[in-house]
Symmetry: C2
Subunit: 119 residues, 2 copies
DNA sequence: TCTATATATGAACAGATATTCATATGAAAA
DNA sequence: TTTTCATATGAATATCTGTTCATATATAGA
């Protein structure tokens, strides 16, 4: 859609100053995309459950699958997404791979979300 | 899938104590679902952009559409989702409806996400 | 080496989601 | 009341996403 095609309301409603100010402080496209991508990772209850389990201690894929009562493949797929988002890290120990939380933002973000809900 | 059907690894890998501890602290199904639902709302760059714009000042739907260069219907649909998640509130003034951030969790959550990315 | 076990991954499919289009609703002005 | 403008919403569609199934890879042990 071309910029000039965007419909807009009459003089009363358009606040040029506010629009301009908003655009100045807006992060660039790439960053907005990255932020949304990060929250997308938190936006699935299987992944939230994995993170909650890892709050307690590191676990291998098999433990995670058993705890969450899901098959190993589904867990592996989700772990891959969590790893790409740098929310978890894996460490191989023989045949097993143990996963743990990558940093403390995970906890903070989930806690904030939980706080928002409980209002 | 029945519980007994879940595949699991041999003695080495299963850590019953850890699994039990993890399950004890796990929020119940409803809450896990709600948390995921909330983050799902943050997991879309259009909605993130709307929230960033509202960081600066309240705006009517038309202003939002123009600022983000999107059509009014798309913005209205997204505002509905944001409103349901109690992230924004609307106030009618004549023909226009002005939207603003519902509370400060919005800022905190997005800031935390941004922090995590910039590492 | 060959076998068994733990994890990873590609393909397929079902279900969810964002945008667009058309239209309805709500409010103000004529 | 009728018209006009701002917003809301249902339906349709294209795209994306999570799970499953089958299979590949990696490691340890025989």
């Amino acid at each position: 859609m071309a910029l000039e095609d965007v419909e807009h309301c009459e003089d009363f409603c358009v606040h040029e100053d506010r629009i301009q100010r908003a655009n100045e402080k807006m992060p660039d496209e790439d960053e907005l995309y990255d932020i949304a991508e990060l929250f997308k990772v938190f936006g699935d209850s299987t992944r939230i459950r994995i993170l909650y389990v890892l709050f307690e201690s590191e676990l291998c894929v098999c433990d995670l699958a058993q705890t969450l009562n899901m098959n190993q493949s589904a867990i592996s797929h989700q772990l891959k997404i969590l790893k790409q988002a740098k929310l978890v890290t894996g460490r191989r120990e023989g045949k097993s791979v143990f996963y743990s939380l990558a940093d403390d933002h995970v906890r903070t973000i989930i806690d904030q979300g939980r706080e928002h809900i409980e209002e």
